[in-house]
């Protein structure tokens, strides 16, 4: 490190600590507020809460609409994860191993959804599904979420595939395994951290996606963020804080699981 504690003046060091703390607070405070509010006894989202209660949680879990939304969110996110990995895996192989003209262009195309404003994708997909009569279906949710989740999955798998020494796969082939056997028995286990990370990214993208989901939603099928959005426009109940807290909790859980898997795997660590 260039700035060793010795070489750095004390004042500068204190300044850096304070700046870092301020940025950390700036990022963390909204989350802390929301979690605290979800346990607050005031029904007007008053801060600081005058007392503590878990009744909003009971209300959340007792409400079939919230539960249906949460269940839909889980279903959509799980299906998005599965399809993003199933599509991302062969795509990543083609982009890393393939030698064909236009490979760079194809890579750019696949990562385009990361750059194009979400609302443009949403309008385009909405227009298409409206015409086909697919809006409000599970299918439309999953397809639109896969579009935005796929770039993350592809990049994650590409990174681990580039790190993987292909001569290990060749070794399996010369040992008697067909190329496909070698990929399944040797390459997939070796790039598993990248596959898992790619899948978790896809899950998270879908889990808190709101722009596309608002377009795809119908009165009978909506995800948790959509339900929060529509509820918020009617009244400001602390149940929204509960939903937010649960949304955050699952995201954090997914990140922790990803980190544990990454650390436990000796390959490509």
């Amino acid at each position: 490190m260039l700035l060793t504690p010795n070489a750095m003046s004390r004042r500068l060091r204190v300044g850096l600590y304070l700046t870092t703390a301020a940025i950390g607070l700036f990022l963390l405070l909204p989350i802390v507020f929301i979690v605290l509010l979800s346990f607050g006894s005031s029904q007007w989202l008053v801060f600081p809460p005058p007392g503590w209660t878990t009744k909003w949680y009971l209300q959340f879990f007792a409400n079939p609409e919230w539960m249906a939304a949460a269940w839909s969110s889980l279903k959509v996110a799980a299906l998005t994860t599965v399809f993003a990995v199933l599509l991302g895996l062969p795509t990543a192989f083609a982009l890393v191993r393939g030698k064909f003209p236009g490979r760079e262009l194809l890579y750019a195309l696949f990562t385009l959804p990361m750059i194009v404003p979400l609302v443009i994708i949403a309008v385009a997909v909405y227009a298409l599904f409206l015409k086909l009569g697919y809006t409000g279906t599970l299918f439309s949710f999953v397809v639109s979420h896969v579009i935005v989740a796929l770039p993350f999955t592809i990049i994650s798998i590409i990174n681990s595939l580039k790190l993987f020494d292909q001569s290990i796969e060749d070794a399996a082939v010369i040992c008697g395994a067909s190329r496909l056997q070698a990929i399944f028995k040797v390459t997939f286990p070796a790039i598993r951290p990248g596959m898992v990370a790619g899948g978790l990214f896809a899950f998270l993208v879908s889990w808190d996606e709101v722009v596309l989901s608002v377009m795809m939603a119908s009165p009978t099928l909506q995800t948790l963020p959509v339900k929060m959005w529509t509820t918020l426009r009617q009244d400001l109940t602390p149940v929204i804080a509960v939903a937010s807290t649960l949304l955050i909790a699952l995201s954090v859980l997914v990140m922790v699981v990803a980190e544990i898997i990454r650390r436990r795997n000796p390959v490509n660590a």
Partner: protein
């Protein structure tokens, strides 16, 4: 695989096992492998030696089946391998970076080829145990590759390549990543393993000392062609051309003008040389003397020791002497400005000083003569190790 193996059984030890016939590999206009013909004998240890980009690894890759020849034939026991996919060739291979399966234990790595072949559990365990014993890794059977040293990893790779008893073992710079001492130990082990198993080994390296230590025959690659083939001794003592002479070891090159078939002039001095077919009188030829075959004598020594018949002598000036422990070298420059080096064992003594006048002597029979060469052949850097 089975068809190939059956055919191989008919081959007797010492016969040709592998034949490369007019083998080519082109990438666009670039010929990575340029019309190679080579017979590999059953049970021999043959090394492909060359600098990077010489075509040695591409040739090995074609043998393994990872590269497809642009044209030409690869025959094993008379049977063409060109259209046999790599996993059905029944060839063993050891890679430069070990290429062990990182998620499997040492035991499961070695068992992998047997599991693919669906051997019974008992037979699989018996063969794996035998291999673990052969490479002395019984105590490490349950470790993961990441928990082994480089030398141990390479032993596992060798065991994995041998466990299914291939007739041919390919090795692509397998010791390149190891330090010098460990390399020499493993080279000795490998030589013993080869002697014990009688397997045919094709080994690729850019390290000429390694090639000399290991192989019965060496094929020297340059620009996609085999430019020298023979035992290390033959190639070193009688290089077939100036490139091999310059590539293997150190060499002194002198440009002579022939006066008859057997004599020539160099900077005004008359020298004897080997009878050389194809050398015309008045033609320029290239003379190659190994540094250890030449002697540098001080003027006083030269006066004491008469020049033996069949020996040549030219005057020169010492530019530098170097003590290298086991040996010492003396660099000289002739009157015409040709730089030469003489090497002698330290025990023999060479009490010379820079600036001193010396007489350079060598036996005409020890010097090779070439009638054709290219200036680039004499440049050591072209085939640097």
């Amino acid at each position: 695989m089975s068809a190939v193996i059956k055919q191989q059984q008919a081959v007797q030890a010492g016969d040709t096992l592998v034949s490369l016939r007019g083998l080519n590999r082109h990438y666009g206009d670039f010929a990575a492998v340029d019309n190679i013909d080579l017979d590999i004998k059953d049970g021999e240890f043959l090394t492909f030696l060359g600098s990077s980009g010489s075509g040695k690894s591409t040739t090995l890759s074609m043998l393994a089946g990872f590269e497809t020849p642009s044209s030409g034939e690869i025959l094993v026991g008379g049977q063409s391998l060109v259209n046999v996919p790599p996993h059905k060739r029944g060839i063993g291979m050891v890679f430069q970076r070990y290429s062990l399966f990182p998620h499997l234990s040492v035991r499961d790595n070695i068992a992998f080829p047997l599991d693919i072949r669906k051997l019974s559990r008992a037979e699989r365990d018996r063969k794996v145990d035998a291999m673990l014993k052969l490479v002395q890794l019984e105590a490490f059977a349950h470790r993961r590759p990441a928990q082994l040293s480089g030398g141990q990893q390479q032993r596992v790779a060798i065991a994995r390549a041998l466990v299914y008893e291939p007739r041919i073992l390919l090795m692509d710079e397998p010791l390149g990543a190891l330090d010098k001492k460990l390399r020499e130990d493993l080279q000795d082990e490998l030589r013993q393993l080869h002697r014990r198993l009688g397997i045919t080994i094709v080994y690729v390296t850019h390290d000429q000392e390694e090639a000399m230590r290991l192989s019965q025959r060496i094929a020297i690659f340059s620009h996609g062609k085999i430019v020298g083939l023979g035992s290390g001794y033959e190639l070193y003592q009688n290089p077939p051309n100036a490139f091999v002479a310059s590539f293997l070891g150190n060499s002194n090159f002198l440009k002579l003008t022939t006066t008859s078939n057997g004599s020539a002039t160099f900077e005004g001095a008359s020298l004897g040389m080997r009878l050389t077919p194809g050398a015309n009188v008045g033609q320029q030829v290239l003379l190659m003397v190994r540094p250890e075959k030449a002697q540098a004598l001080s003027v006083a020594q030269a006066a004491e020791q008469p020049l033996l018949p069949g020996w040549n002598q030219i005057p020169a000036t010492v530019t530098e002497t170097l003590f290298l422990g086991e040996s010492q070298t003396c660099s000289v420059v002739t009157r015409g400005g040709t730089a030469m080096t003489v090497k002698a064992l330290s025990a023999a003594g060479m009490p010379l000083q820079a600036g001193e006048q010396v007489q350079l002597r060598w036996a005409a029979a020890d010097a090779c003569v070439y009638t054709h060469w290219e200036e680039g052949d004499l440049n050591k850097a072209a085939g640097a190790h």
